[in-house]
């Protein structure tokens, strides 16, 4: 490999600028953010790698089409305010996306530099700009004159927050209804502090409130009011209630004490700060923790358990490492921190003692069989390969489905078999007049940026719907 490091010619320094981060040995004992963010020098060095392509492939890879070469050029010019403005034109939550987007399968996957070497670290640059803005103080957003129209947004996750922000900017009066005591959806209750500091989520919520959006926590649609009643009270409704219903495996022993859904475990740890002795929240501190699953949720649960003081944390996943849906960076970080990966392994039974406490997980080895219809080789159990993994805490992170409470007492909202809402891909329009939907409630568990993208499209469609109404 040619050593181009430090060479200015052609803007093509091969190696990307590394992200400063807490050493693994230290960070596995605290809940502080793992990655520390680029310094100005780092950002300038990394930005200078970008070729500002005329036909930028990276932009196509971004679900909200951030003008990547545009903002990176401004970073090179040290015009950070201009850069953040450019990003925010299409992405309302850059501080969050820069941290949690699966860049390696989206924007960075398409970067031309990635063909021969490493792609530009687009996410890190995006985060740098957003953090820069927060440090300087966010400019007060401007909204258009009031239209007199009222829109209800149900759910305050990335889909709801984005839709609310865009609608408020267009002059509509927006109220967000959120069932939990804090806004943010998965950003607040799911993704841990060490990956996405809650202060950042709070700042985004405050930004949206500054736009005149009213956030009503502790307000469950389907319980306090039905969706039908909301339709009567508002000119339009956006549903961004996510996919918050935890799936269990249905195996023996799943109800033993110490067996958690990832949702419960992470909610106790993140939203209710069980790691902070000042909080009353209870959570079982495991010595041997087993987490079942291979996505971001599993990584987050495993790394949280480690930080709570577990001695041995292992991830049990039925496919191989390449099939793991988690962000690459999270898998690497988890490995560095000492999480054990038991791949091609599936739990068959959970064991417990006479006091009903979990004592272990019986697992079976898997091998990849013939490719199925989707072309993926599906794992099949290897007969007689059962073995026992001792555990006093088990976290199940095998996926979630939409929570059906929202449908209680209302009619006419078409759903799929999997419980997701049927909505137009471009507009978010549902089968119910005036009701739009986007994010995980439509797609099933997906990504922050795709939920935001859906919120954005729906806001545009709702605005048009309100003009015609």
């Amino acid at each position: 490999m040619q050593e181009l490091h430090g060479e200015k010619t052609g803007n093509a320094k091969k190696e990307r600028t590394p992200m400063p981060e807490q050493p693994a040995e230290e960070r596995r004992k605290n809940f502080n953010e793992v990655t520390l963010g680029y310094t100005k020098e780092d950002a300038l060095a990394e930005a200078s790698r970008c070729l500002t392509c005329k036909d930028p492939k990276c932009v196509e890879g971004c679900p909200v089409n951030v003008d990547i070469p545009g903002f990176i050029k401004m970073v090179c010019e040290e015009n950070f305010e201009g850069a953040i403005e450019r990003i925010k034109a299409t992405n309302a939550l850059p501080a969050i996306c820069g941290r949690v987007c699966p860049q390696e399968t989206q924007c960075e996957a398409r970067c031309v530099l990635g063909k021969k070497g490493q792609p530009v670290a687009i996410g890190r640059l995006e985060r740098f700009c957003a953090d820069y803005e927060h440090e300087k103080g966010v400019k007060s957003p401007e909204a258009m004159p009031p239209t007199g129209k009222k829109v209800a947004v149900v759910g305050s996750g990335p889909a709801g927050l984005t839709a609310a922000a865009d609608l408020a900017k267009l002059g509509h009066k927006v109220t967000i209804f959120e069932s939990l005591h804090k806004a943010g959806g998965v950003l607040s209750y799911g993704i841990p502090e060490f990956r996405l500091p809650k202060e950042i989520v709070q700042q985004e919520v405050e930004y949206i409130e500054k736009l005149g959006v009213e956030v009503k926590p502790n307000y469950i649609i389907g319980r306090i009011k039905t969706l039908d009643e909301l339709c009567d009270d508002f000119d339009a409704v956006f549903l961004g209630t996510g996919a918050g219903l935890p799936n269990f495996m249905g195996i023996e022993g799943e109800n033993f004490n110490g067996v958690y859904s990832a949702n419960e475990f992470l909610t106790r740890v993140n939203l209710m700060k069980a790691y902070d002795p000042e909080y009353d929240t209870m959570v079982r501190l495991g010595k041997n923790v087993v987490v079942v699953g291979g996505g971001n949720v599993a990584m987050d649960a495993a790394r949280s358990a480690l930080r709570l003081g577990a001695e041995e944390v292992s991830i049990v996943y039925r496919r191989g490492e390449d099939e793991m849906p988690a962000r690459r960076e999270e898998v690497e970080h988890a490995k560095e921190e000492g999480i054990t990966f038991r791949l091609l392994t599936n739990p068959v039974r959970i064991l417990g003692d006479e006091k009903f406490n979990v004592t272990g997980v019986e697992c079976i080895k898997m091998e990849l069989g013939e490719p199925d219809k989707s072309g993926r080789r599906s794992p099949v159990p290897v007969e007689g390969s059962e073995f026992l993994v001792p555990a006093d805490v088990v976290v199940i992170a095998i996926g979630t489905s939409p929570n059906p409470i929202i449908f209680k007492g209302s009619e006419g909202l078409e759903q799929n078999r999997r419980g997701t809402v049927v909505a137009d891909e471009e507009t978010g329009a549902t089968s119910k007049c005036g009701v739009f939907a986007g994010g995980d409630i439509v797609t099933g568990a997906a990504t922050v940026i795709s939920a935001m993208g859906a919120g954005k499209k729906a806001a545009k469609a709702i605005d048009e719907y309100l003009k015609e109404k």
Binding site: P217, P246, N255, F356, N403
Partner: protein
């Protein structure tokens, strides 16, 4: 957003009644539902049954017993103070219909959830027989209210200081044995009392419902912490219940799951009481 406490009174030793200003909850509440409250930012989310509600005034009444840290802390609040969070109504409302004769059995603070049900069953045209019990007469609650809301009211105390000397379930059995046609019994109280009560009613041709008090976090079906086994299937108490067919409930599992944090809870109370003693809290 804060929820103001309008009234607060100790109605029996360590049992408190609190009226809270929560118009949205009050408007939507139905018998059999519950709320989850949080005292402050650092508090736990604690579920309590809606013991009464007035939709017009926008108030919700809860009755709670001092058990651990949160309920002890709650006991120290008074009218004029506020709660950080108060969310509800949660759970599937009780299936109140005209059935004929309904027996409502309440033990301890389980008497509190019986009261809105007595009103609802009476309003639906049923003959309501309420049976309430406590360890002794000082611990009895809502006697006058239930007297009014039911056709008949029976009392049992463990020590015989008032009413029947023995258990509520003795009275229930007597009525079931009397040959009176009873369509349904609803038993609410500590899990062991519900288990025993369900066992007593089991041989009779009567529907038996219990209201379960699993440990909860969100109360909306999002965490699965409240799971119970009913008829061999895993159910979420907060959305599928809290009322279930007693014949199908795995009470042993419920009781075991309720013991999940026993060690931690004891420690929390100890720390809290130590702190209180310093006079600063």
């Amino acid at each position: 957003m804060a929820y103001r406490i309008l009234e607060k009174e100790e109605i029996a030793p360590s049992v408190h009644r609190m009226v809270i200003d929560a118009p949205d909850v009050a408007k939507a509440a139905k018998a059999g539902q519950f709320i989850i409250l949080r005292i402050d930012e650092r508090g736990e989310r604690v579920p309590l049954t809606i013991a009464d509600f007035e939709s017009e005034k926008g108030t919700v009444t809860v009755i709670y017993q001092e058990m651990g840290k949160t309920t002890k802390q709650l006991a120290k609040l008074s009218a004029g103070d506020s709660l950080e969070d108060f969310v509800g109504p949660l759970g599937t409302p009780a299936d109140v219909r005209k059935l004929g004769t309904v027996i409502l059995v309440g033990g301890g603070v389980g008497v509190a959830p019986i009261y809105p049900q007595a009103k609802a069953y009476t309003n639906a045209g049923n003959k309501v027989i309420s049976i309430i019990g406590a360890r002794n007469k000082d611990l009895l609650i809502l006697e006058d209210e239930l007297e009014k809301a039911s056709s008949e009211l029976y009392i049992a105390t463990d020590d015989g200081s008032k009413g029947h000397h023995g258990f509520v379930t003795d009275i229930m059995k007597r009525i079931l044995d009397s040959g009176e046609k009873v369509a349904r019994v609803v038993i609410i109280g500590p899990p062991i009392m519900m288990k025993v009560g369900a066992g007593v009613a089991f041989p009779y041709d009567v529907e038996i419902l219990v209201s379960l008090n699993a440990i909860m976090v969100d109360g909306t079906g999002m965490c699965g912490g409240c799971r119970v086994t009913v008829d061999g299937e895993t159910k979420f108490t907060c959305v599928d219940g809290p009322e279930f067919d007693a014949r199908k409930v795995d009470f042993v599992q419920l009781m075991n799951r309720l013991a999940m944090y026993r060690g931690e809870e004891a420690k929390a109370v100890e720390n809290y009481e130590d702190k209180c003693k310093c006079g600063l809290h």
